[in-house]
């Protein structure tokens, strides 16, 4: 809420200005094409994104002080549970961003459960598209 002070020192409330914050997203995937696709999807929602090629890079980005509204996390990068370990680590570091797993193994109940238990908020099946991520992005914007 923007305010101005008058010459008498009174503070008047001005008309509130609502600024729609750009969603800031971290895309974590070892595949160049998938990263490009996810960047395009986030851009189509008016968001901005940064990328990481694996879990270690994602964790280091956070260690350097960055924070994000949303993290899109692949599972195998290419080590089998790289995304699971990275998610666990981020949660241990008290990262409160929404973390969405994006994996070709989302249909495998066991794999999905293990990934969710690492600290995901959601898990989506690859390939990602606008329709799959839109409800999540809308919820973030409304929050």
């Amino acid at each position: 809420m923007a305010t101005t002070s008058t010459s008498t020192g009174d503070i008047n409330k001005t008309k509130s200005v609502e600024v729609k914050k750009k969603l800031n997203v971290l895309i974590v995937d070892d595949d160049t094409v998938t990263r490009k696709l996810h960047e395009g999807i986030i851009k189509s929602f008016g968001g901005i994104s940064q990328t990481a090629k694996n879990g270690e890079e994602a964790v280091n980005i956070h260690r350097n002080g960055a924070s994000f509204d949303l993290i899109l996390m692949d599972k195998e990068m290419p080590q089998r549970d790289d995304g699971v370990l990275a998610t666990k680590k981020l949660r241990e570091m008290k990262v409160t961003s929404m973390i969405v797993g994006v994996t070709s193994l989302a249909d495998n109940e066991e794999e999905r459960k293990a990934f969710m238990e690492a600290g995901l908020n959601h898990c989506l099946a690859k390939p990602l598209n606008k329709a799959k991520i839109e409800p999540i992005i809308n919820n973030l914007r409304d929050a």
Binding site: V33, E76, S104
Partner: protein, 135 residues
């Protein structure tokens, strides 16, 4: 996209939907990345198979990446062959891997030709026509 039917699935339409005035060449950029990356993966697999070393874990890892990027671009036939290759890796069937890999390369080359033709036509049509088709 008539000539690409069967080679590309609905995911390719998703890519076209992401193309607009701000990203006028998005689809071609993604395709270019795909063919650059997949050439590297094909080369890695070729070399691994030529050496006669059937490290099925390594081969599966390469093919996992290849399948992933094929899925992102909507390359359905390539993706199907990648899945079959991975199945042969899973059961340790070297002959099956060799045979399927030839199919992967064949479908990949076919798709490349089709998309090159598609992009040539798209460039001739011009940005307005491409944007109109994308909406």
């Amino acid at each position: 996209m008539g000539k690409c039917q069967g080679y590309l699935d609905e995911q390719f339409i998703e890519l076209e939907e992401l193309q607009d005035d701000v990203n006028p060449n998005f689809v071609e950029e993604v395709a270019t990345l795909y063919f650059k990356d997949s050439a590297r993966l094909i080369n890695n697999i070729d070399q691994a198979l030529e050496r006669g070393s059937f490290d099925f874990n390594r081969l599966d890892s390469y093919m996992h990446q290849f399948k992933g990027s094929s899925s992102s671009i909507g390359a359905s036939k390539v993706k199907t062959e990648c899945t079959m290759f991975r199945e042969y890796c899973r059961v340790g069937n070297a002959e099956g891997c060799l045979r399927t890999f030839q199919q992967v390369k064949k479908e990949h080359a076919r798709l490349r030709k089709k998309l090159e033709h598609y992009f040539q036509l798209a460039r001739q049509a011009g940005p307005k026509e491409t944007a109109r088709r994308s909406k």
